[in-house]
């Protein structure tokens, strides 16, 4: 660990915190454009956060300490997740602290606290949303694990930094398994980030909500933290996808100067990814909730196929 890697780590976290709302704003802009609407400002998510942080906090009378703690725990989980996902550099001091499996666990931890908090005040919608969110979670997490394992098999490591470094800085090899894993990852990301076709982030219909109904009772800074955490999650997933499937341009310990190039490259990749996400959402309708298991089972199947292909194509005893 040296000064530069500390700097890279710090930059990684700061970048996630600052850029995440921008990515959400960007996706919302594209959604509006694709619907022939006048788009809100790119900085609208920041204005919303600013507004929410300055509002009076209203908490239900029967809320337990868990209800008050949940926003901070969920937000903390998302910050930590962003810290261990290599965005600019693979030389991250925090990365050895948690590998890909722990990352999935981190997302699961946030989900558990969010669901518990939603059920805490005892409204019908909180419980309903918690149940639906758990349904999605328990199907999406194994699929995400399989996607990460497909990538792990290539570099024979579960540490994200090592995986990405292996993928980014090796001579160009085509990994067919990653194509399958990539599709599976896209499906999982849509489900995990409450996007269409699984959930509709802009709906006002309380009976169809999943993620929104979980945070229906929250207000002011608690809600701001949840909104920010949702942006961070989308950012983390996007960066994870970029790092796994389009890793070119990420700096490592040997090439610290690449950091300068990595930032504009990341912004470019995120911009393209965000526009594609909006396009995907515009084309689709929201599916019936009982189609979600089929949707995520497809993701799981694709990820497993990806893994099997890696195993088939790799001679025994030899790492790729």
């Amino acid at each position: 660990m040296n000064g530069l890697s500390l700097l890279a780590q710090l930059l990684d976290i700061l970048l996630a915190l600052l850029l995440a709302p921008l990515l959400t704003g960007w996706v919302n802009q594209w959604r509006a454009w694709l619907q022939n609407k006048t788009a809100p400002s790119l900085f609208q998510p920041y204005y919303t956060l600013h507004k929410l942080f300055h509002k009076e906090l209203i908490v239900a009378h029967q809320a337990s300490p868990l209800y008050r703690a949940a926003p901070y725990i969920v937000f903390g989980c998302m910050v930590l997740a962003s810290a261990i996902i290599p965005t600019l550099s693979t030389d991250l001091p925090l990365a050895p602290a948690a590998d890909a499996i722990a990352l999935v666990g981190l997302f699961a931890l946030a989900r558990v606290f969010l669901s518990l908090a939603a059920m805490d005040v005892g409204t019908a919608f909180g419980t309903l949303g918690a149940r639906r969110d758990m349904l999605i979670g328990f199907l999406a997490e194994p699929a995400l694990l399989m996607v990460l394992f497909s990538a792990s098999l290539i570099s024979r490591a579960t540490s994200l930094s090592t995986i990405v470094e292996g993928l980014a800085h090796q001579t160009l090899v085509i990994h067919p398994s990653l194509a399958f894993a990539g599709v599976a990852f896209t499906l999982v990301s849509l489900a995990e980030n409450a996007r269409i076709p699984v959930d509709n982030p802009t709906t006002h219909l309380e009976l169809t909500m999943i993620h929104e109904s979980l945070i229906l009772e929250y207000s002011a800074r608690h809600l701001a933290l949840f909104e920010w955490a949702a942006s961070l999650k989308l950012f983390a997933y996007s960066c994870m996808g970029l790092a796994l499937f389009f890793p070119w341009g990420i700096a490592n310990a040997k090439t610290p100067l690449l950091l300068l190039l990595a930032l504009p490259l990341l912004v470019f990749k995120l911009a393209v990814g965000g526009a594609l996400l909006a396009l995907l959402e515009t084309f689709s309708a929201k599916m019936r909730i009982f189609r979600v298991p089929e949707f995520l089972a497809t993701a799981f199947l694709l990820a497993v196929i990806g893994m099997l292909i890696t195993l088939l194509l790799t001679p025994f005893g030899k790492a790729a």
Partner: protein, 517 residues
């Protein structure tokens, strides 16, 4: 205006009335309405015979002084409007075994008549009064007794009356197992405003202003029905051109609502592009309404005896051009809706009301036509101007959300055709009201108007009286088709999952304000 000519043959309903309520007489007006007292002993047999003949219950209400109970039945284009004299301590037979919609109509009647009538019905819960009305017999507000569902894993979800979106208030109680709905019970009446009492305080000839404001999305239908009833009571002859212009307004209202609903249905299924495009089309439509008729929703465009604005040639050309421009866009959007796998998966078999159930429950209007109930006032009867337009009623048998979407597309296209036809054959301007009766000579006359609004049949029944030389409404009742369709919504959701309810609800798009009044 054929009230003077004798009908060629008596309708079934007429024969029934002659047998059971011989004092019935025909009221003037474009529709054959037979009106008179019903002897107490014939209340149930009449309902039974009409039910056997395939008739339907339209409305049921007590008059303002709680001395009479009115009911209207429709069979083909004929309407029977009979009333029962209320005596003390008399239990009125419950009509709900024959016509399920009577359940809530009767409970509302008890509320409105301040308990001066009682039905021999098992369900005695109040309906419109939530215990907050100021009156002598009012009990303190108590929770509405929803029918409980018990069993392992069954729990209740209470939704509303305040919702997450900006919509009208209504409470929905779901009993669910997991996501599956076992029972839904709606509780309405939150927007009751005592509109009937307000009507009685105002001059009868200004009543159309209130009628136009009862339900914003059906303002043309309500004001036309009101004016039709008023004109029938006063036996006014309205100019041909006026009737054609009213039909034009009614069709424009229908198109505006269908465009809004089609977009909203796409949006509720997560297809926001549909909403964006339909909103754009609807906005253009409303702006032209504002420019030509002075109001986006066409409020106050129909007056007793006339319409507020006439059209000149250039204005007709504008309206014509808008229909021509809208049609190809609508066809493209229909192709997109029908070709979108995700949307069709959400719409198909969702919220199904099969024709058998629809007939049993008396589903009416647009939702009825999606479930094989071929009733459309515009196609039946001999009333101007629809008798000259040859309206093709949309009809589907599937009874699901997809069918209600398809009916909306068909009706919008048909309305676009009708608007062009009306514009092409608009009669020449003449005197607005051909013969005005001397207002002072009228005393306690009744009139009834019926109009096929976009949601279904709207009926206005009124009684005029001459009060100190000014014409006032002694009694008025407006009936919204939502009374028939709200209970059917509770059946449509059965076996579906909770997150599909908003879509099913939107596909019916029933009225709160017109129902609660």
């Amino acid at each position: 205006m054929t009230s003077s000519a004798p009908p060629l043959q008596r309708t079934i309903l007429q024969r029934l009335l002659q047998e059971l309520c011989p004092d019935c007489q025909r009221l003037p007006g474009p529709f054959p309405v037979w009106h008179g007292p019903c002897p107490g002993a014939q209340w149930w047999p009449l309902a039974q015979r009409i039910h056997q003949a395939g008739g339907r219950l339209v409305a049921l209400w007590p008059d303002a002084h709680a001395t009479l109970l009115h009911v209207t039945y429709a069979l083909e284009e004929t309407l029977a409007w009979v009333w029962l004299e209320l005596g003390k301590a008399q239990k009125i037979p419950d009509l709900s075994p024959l016509f399920p919609a009577a359940n809530r109509l009767q409970r509302a009647a008890v509320d409105l008549a301040d308990f001066s009538l009682a039905f021999d019905a098992p369900d005695q819960r109040p309906w419109l009064d939530h215990g907050c009305w100021l009156r002598e017999q009012s009990a303190p507000p108590q929770p509405y007794a929803f029918v409980p569902v018990t069993g392992e894993g069954v729990h209740e979800i209470a939704v509303g009356p305040i919702h997450a979106g900006i919509i009208e208030p209504g409470h929905f109680r779901f009993s669910v197992v997991g996501e599956k709905v076992l029972r839904l019970e709606a509780h309405l009446g939150y927007t009751h405003k005592g509109a009937a009492a307000r009507w009685r305080q105002r001059p009868a000839l200004l009543g159309h202003e209130l009628a136009a404001r009862l339900c914003g999305d059906s303002t043309v239908a309500y004001s036309w029905a009101f004016c039709m009833a008023l004109e029938a009571a006063l036996d006014w002859r309205v100019a041909e051109r006026t009737l054609w212009l009213r039909a034009l307004l009614l069709e424009r209202e229908r198109v505006a609502n269908h465009l809004g609903d089609l977009g909203a249905l796409g949006n509720d299924a997560g297809f926001a592009v549909g909403l964006a495009h339909f909103s754009r089309l609807r906005e253009d439509w409303l702006r032209l309404s504002k420019a030509l008729f002075g109001h986006r929703l066409l409020m106050d465009s129909i007056l007793p005896g006339g319409v507020r604005t006439d059209l000149d040639k250039t204005q007709c050309a504008l309206l014509h051009a808008q229909c021509v421009a809208l049609e190809p866009e609508l066809l493209t959007l229909r192709d997109i809706y029908e070709g979108h796998a995700g949307l069709q998966d959400r719409f198909g078999t969702t919220g199904q009301v099969l024709p058998g159930l629809a007939r049993q429950l008396g589903l009416t209007g647009l939702a009825g036509r999606a479930s094989g109930m071929a009733a459309d006032l515009r196609c039946h009867g001999n009333w101007a101007p629809y008798n000259a337009l040859d309206v093709q009623a949309a009809l589907r048998e599937e009874g699901d959300v997809a069918a209600r979407v398809a009916v909306r597309f068909d009706e919008t296209l048909e309305s676009l055709r009708l608007i062009r036809l009306i514009l092409d054959h608009l009669p020449a301007p003449g005197p607005a009201v051909a013969a005005q009766q001397n207002l002072a000579s009228t005393h306690a006359v009744r009139g009834l108007g019926r109009v096929e609004g976009w949601r279904g049949e709207i009926q206005v029944a009124l009684q005029l009286e001459n009060h100190r030389d000014s014409l006032t409404l002694r009694d008025i009742h407006l009936h919204d088709p939502s009374w028939q369709n709200w209970p059917v919504l509770e059946h449509a959701i059965l076996g579906n999952i909770v997150p599909d309810f908003p879509l099913i609800n939107k596909s019916f798009n029933l009225c709160y304000s017109g129902h609660d009044q």
